[in-house]
Symmetry: C2
Subunit: 105 residues, 2 copies
DNA sequence: ATCATATGTAATAATTATATAACATATGAT
DNA sequence: ATCATATGTTATATAATTATTACATATGAT
């Protein structure tokens, strides 16, 4: 992976249990939004918010498909993922992180 | 590691760049609070807030020591850490996470 | 035409997280 | 006694996240 920001986004994405659960469900099998909302017993607006975070962290991708019955379905799937979190990684990242972080970049 | 909450706390702890930086610095060598505040160019109240999150996630520990000059120093150090973040881990965790999360537990 | 099931989004409320400012105590050196 | 350097905390302001409510469109089946 590239910059420390990518790691911050990743950790932030997994900082909420519902997003870990979503990712775990998608790790087994891709799902479309309404299906996932029903599984999670969650409103779609809230689900969209969580999916947006996962998508921005580049952890999931989405694509549209027309079902047999003619309805548009938005499928989400988990992207490949394998990160080893160790002190060495933290050392490497911490060297990239400035002491003062400017708002816009 | 134990429960999914421990992972949420871990990810939450690393969801802020300053906390990754702190952890990376402590991975190299333990530091006392004022030393760390100077290194990070950060106020102590803010640093304490970040350290508290890292401590609650069981990522760092602290201990008091009297310096040669007689002052009390609070040293922080990084605990051993090795976590492999993979789809399989997400699947395992997601199975533990209830669809509705009660506030008090 | 109405229903069920997809999609999406805008506005708002409630809650947490982040950051700063202003205190306080204690020790050793000058 | 004052200064420098440790410790710690309380109160407040600002910003971001999380969650809900209320809309809206489109398709196929009844």
């Amino acid at each position: 992976m590239e910059s420390y920001e990518a790691y911050v986004n990743l950790f932030d994405a997994f900082s909420h249990p519902m997003r870990i659960k979503i990712a775990g469900i998608l790790a087994v099998e891709r799902k479309y939004v309404s299906e996932l909302a029903k599984l999670m017993q969650m409103s779609r607006p809230l689900l969209y918010m969580h999916l947006k975070k996962l998508e921005e962290a580049l952890l999931v991708t989405s694509s549209y498909e027309i079902s047999e019955s003619g309805k548009t379905m938005k499928y989400y799937e988990l992207k490949p993922l394998s990160i080893k979190l160790t002190p060495d990684l933290l050392i490497k990242l911490s060297q990239e992180i400035p002491t003062v972080i400017s708002k816009n970049d």
